[in-house]
């Protein structure tokens, strides 16, 4: 084969001319051999965060429950009573668009490994999905494939998927988003595991599935926009096996619980390269790695492919030599490979061997820490739309409008998705995905709430309002059930960061998230950035998804989110904020409109007040009014034939179609037993006065006709 020209090499390895010059400068010579592949993978946007890192530093706020572990695989919250919560959210957008089942399945597998590599048992999964218009090309099969992939993987590994969000909008016709969040629990004798390599002479052990050629260059692929030819990218797609993952979870947690391991790291994007280089670089040690000792699925595999393979269900760990036998016994019990492939050295160099010969010798920090940091240009955010008086969005009557909205994929009941997920394995689930808030119970008799946030239509309406809503809406959903939000993870999905307007949306979001995390006292403990969600020059609308975890310090009843009995007094409580037609306007193909604004400080304080209010008044039913306004929300609150009878009089606002369908940030519905009406109203009056709210008696629950 003829030697490639420099231009061909740069293209093949997706390295820019400037980056090539930077690499040559760092090495004191042009890169050679395997170095090309190493820089290609770890300097990719996906691995290096080169366009986002300067802004992600803003998420530095920590409190007494959290510490700075930003270089670990996921964030940790110490919630006391010997329990720690570990969680993170990650994207698998590019692979899922190419091959939806495998893309989504391996997305779940990858995020789970980030959790159990830290010694935490995964206890819950959540998903955040954005699809295109349901009639767009391939979309029905993409939706079906993604849901089946999450179901196929999550169910088999035995981790319940208990909540999610699903968007349908034409902005995602050619770039769907598949984000998965995993939550893990460390309790009892288990310790938090590190990913920092330590101890000269210690062994590097490869565990899990064998290495094949799948997913080579996956990280670089995920750092590019799509062109027309997505089929050619299929060989970049990894194939997952949830059965192996289940064995890997049990065996890894077993060796960690027996204290046999110095550190552990999963092999995610850029596989063996990123895991070993990062371990060495964090521990400021060297490592000798024998690539030919890596268990291989295919004897024709090259050293470069071994380094870059993204074969799934693999981990690498470091142990003192005397523990190797005990570790191998555990993995053998679970029928998995555990092969020593290297040693920790004092050279501070990574030395890669192939059949006894050194093929590359390099300082790992050049690869892991010296990637360029781009300060991509952005401007000050200007609202995309002018605020204006919000006019009725449709002249249909209430019933017609409600019916037509409910025909839309977005507003349709999504139980068909959640019923494909095992929501109860592990027997911790208190509230499943059919509820507005999903809850798991801890052994300490406390409840943990898990939510995802970011309603993309509000982002499209106004980036500032959308970004505030992305955290505040799930925070209010938790507060209205008596939970206190304790920490945040994010998955920032954007288009091409080299475009000023995309970068402006990104920076605006980061600034707001940093501010909200501090005001809400809910640190952003982990996260992921996915750029280049773009096809043929058309990008997605900004979609900074959020995962939020909240805690309730007791196991008292969580208020219902639907009417399940008659005779409850129903209240509507309104906050001065934003009045809009966002999602509803999009569904009806009308212009969006909005007035008003959101304030971070006011909302953050109010979340605390709401948690306290609900804990004190214990309403029977509580719910934040969602998209589609009060009309859709009350419709969703009907259950088992119970509904809210509205006290309608002809001139009253409740009979106004506009009022019923406006999406207001924020309105709340409560229903209380008539016997507790007195004390409830007393507390409500105090809340209303203090926070400048408006409250109405909406009606009472009754047996409906449906």
């Amino acid at each position: 084969m003829a030697e490639r020209t420099l231009t061909e090499k740069l293209k093949h390895y997706r390295i820019s001319q400037n980056e090539y010059e930077r690499i040559s400068g760092l090495l004191g010579r042009p890169p050679q051999g395997l170095e090309w592949a190493l820089f290609s993978a770890l300097w990719s946007e996906h691995c290096s965060y080169k366009s986002s890192k300067v802004h992600l530093r803003k998420f530095s706020y920590r409190n007494g429950m959290t510490r700075d572990d930003s270089d670990e695989n996921a964030g940790v919250v110490d919630i006391g009573f010997g329990e720690k919560i570990v969680f993170k959210m990650e994207s698998h957008n590019h692979p899922s668009f190419i091959e939806p089942y495998q893309g989504a399945a391996t997305g779940v597998g990858g995020i789970l490994r980030d959790i159990f590599t830290m010694g935490a048992r995964p206890i819950a999964l959540a998903d955040y999905l954005c699809f295109g218009d349901e009639n767009a090309p391939r979309m029905k099969s993409l939706v079906k494939g993604v849901v089946a992939g999450i179901s196929g993987y999550g169910n088999c590994v035995g981790v319940p998927t208990i909540t999610g969000y699903t968007e349908y909008d034409e902005n995602y016709n050619k770039n769907i988003l598949v984000n998965a969040m995993a939550v893990g629990l460390i309790e009892g004798q288990m310790n938090l595991a590190s990913s920092k390599a330590e101890g000269i002479g210690n062994l590097v052990v490869y565990v899990g599935a064998k290495t094949g050629k799948d997913g080579v260059h996956g990280a670089a692929m995920a750092s590019e926009s799509f062109d027309q030819d997505i089929d050619s990218k299929k060989p970049n797609i990894q194939i997952g096996d949830p059965f192996l993952e289940k064995l890997l979870i049990e065996s890894c947690l077993e060796v960690l619980s027996k204290n046999l391991v110095v550190c552990m790291q999963d092999m995610g994007a850029a596989g063996l390269t990123s895991s070993t280089f990062e371990m060495a670089s964090k521990g400021k040690v060297g490592m000798d790695l024998h690539l030919d000792k890596v268990p291989q699925r295919d004897s024709s595999i090259t050293p470069e492919e071994i380094l870059l393979s993204e074969s799934q269900e693999r981990m690498v760990l470091v142990c003192v030599p005397k523990n190797l036998e005990a570790i191998q016994a555990v993995f053998k019990k679970w029928d998995l490979d555990a092969a020593p492939v290297g040693t920790i050295t004092d050279t501070k160099k990574m030395r890669l061997f192939w059949k006894g010969d050194v093929v590359t010798e390099i300082d790992p920090t050049l690869i892991t820490d010296s990637a360029p940091r781009y300060e991509r240009p952005f401007t000050e955010y200007q609202s995309k739309r002018k605020r204006a008086k919000v006019e009725a969005v449709s002249n249909q009557n209430q019933k017609q409008l409600l019916d037509s909205l409910k025909q839309n994929a977005f507003y349709k009941n999504k139980n068909w998705i959640y019923e494909q997920y095992d929501q109860r394995v592990g027997t911790r689930t208190v509230k499943d995905a059919s509820q507005t808030l999903s809850v798991v119970r801890l052994n300490s008799h406390r409840d943990l709430a898990i939510s995802v946030g970011c309603r993309p239509s509000f982002m499209r309406m106004d980036t500032r309002i959308g970004a505030i809503d992305a955290i505040m809406y799930p925070a209010l959903q938790q507060a209205i059930k008596g939970f206190k939000p304790i920490a945040v993870t994010d998955c920032l999905n954007f288009a091409n960061p080299e475009r000023v307007e995309v970068m402006t949306d990104f920076v605006t979001t980061c600034d707001l998230y940093a501010q909200i995390a501090q005001k809400l006292d809910a640190p952003i403990i982990s996260g992921n950035v996915s750029f280049y969600n773009e096809t043929e020059g058309k990008g997605i609308s900004p979609t900074p998804a959020v995962g939020l975890v909240g805690l309730k310090e007791n196991d008292e009843r969580v208020p219902d989110c639907v009417f399940t009995e008659t005779g409850l007094d129903v209240y509507l409580v309104q906050m001065p904020g934003v009045i809009s037609y966002a999602k509803t306007a999009e569904v009806l193909k009308k212009e969006m409109s909005f007035s008003g604004d959101l304030t971070v400080n006011y909302l953050a304080d109010f979340v605390g007040a709401m948690t306290a209010f609900v804990a004190k008044t214990k309403p029977q039913v509580s719910r934040v009014v969602g998209q589609g306004g009060l009309a859709l929300t009350l419709d969703k609150m009907k259950s088992a034939g119970y509904e809210c009878s509205m006290q309608v009089d002809a001139n009253h606002m409740f009979s106004s179609t506009s009022f019923l369908f406006e999406e207001r940030l924020y309105d709340f519905v409560f229903a209380v037993d008539s016997k507790t009406r007195g004390p409830f109203e007393k507390e409500l009056d105090a809340l209303v006065k203090k926070w400048n709210l408006i409250s109405h008696v909406l009606g009472s629950s009754r047996k409906g006709y449906s």
Partner: protein
């Protein structure tokens, strides 16, 4: 009471069944798939749910041929009770300890939901609640009970139908949700009683199961 809980590679409800057993104050004896065990060491065996051996070949097919199941068969012959849940049901059918087979749901999808089942014939060993109708959750992709006509007739006439769904959720013949052997000491069902132990789980009809 000593309860043996079987774990295969891919079993994922074993710890849930352990919690259920401990909630009754029973002692749990873990049983590993590669090992035979002394049938005198336990008073009851539970084969829990999950994806034993990754559902390779056919649900429960590989598990049925494991060492531990040889001992479970011996134990059943002594008259001691054996309970199968979900994948445990599939495994017990594959071993021939129970009649019939579980195949892919008629709608082709995995299904997780609360169901109502009705007791048809009872056994002295399990499900000791007085309630005739029980609310329990299911979570399976292959839970459609199937048997040849002659075998099905026999199951019915010999009083081996344990539970029926009040609403057929997966295409099971005769709405069958659980069956027993003729001696009624080996019994299994697709719904998960261990997921319905306490009201906070959404229902407590599973509490009196063992």
């Amino acid at each position: 009471m000593k309860v043996g809980v079987v774990t295969f590679p891919g079993t994922n409800c074993d710890q849930d069944v352990v919690k259920m057993s401990q909630a009754h104050g029973y002692k749990v004896v873990p049983l590993w798939h590669k090992d035979h065990f002394d049938v005198k060491s336990v008073d009851m065996v539970i084969v829990p749910g999950g994806f034993s051996y990754g559902d390779y070949l056919r649900c429960g097919a590989l598990a049925a041929r494991s060492a531990v199941m040889t001992s479970v068969k011996e134990l059943a012959k002594t008259g001691k009770p054996v309970l199968g849940i979900c994948n445990g049901f599939q495994i017990l059918c594959e071993t021939g300890m129970l009649p019939g087979v579980l195949v892919r749901n008629d709608h082709g999808r995995f299904t997780d939901k609360w169901t109502e089942i009705e007791t048809v014939n009872s056994t002295q060993h399990f499900a000791k609640s007085d309630k005739k109708k029980l609310k329990l959750p299911v979570a399976h992709g292959e839970g459609r009970f199937f048997a040849e006509k002659s075998e099905l007739d026999k199951i019915e006439s010999q009083g081996q139908v344990w539970f029926r769904y009040t609403e057929n959720i997966n295409g099971s013949l005769n709405n069958i949700a659980g069956v027993m052997n003729k001696e009624k000491n080996v019994a299994a069902l697709m719904p998960h009683p261990e997921r319905a132990m306490f009201d906070w789980m959404g229902g407590s009809d599973g509490f009196k199961f063992i």
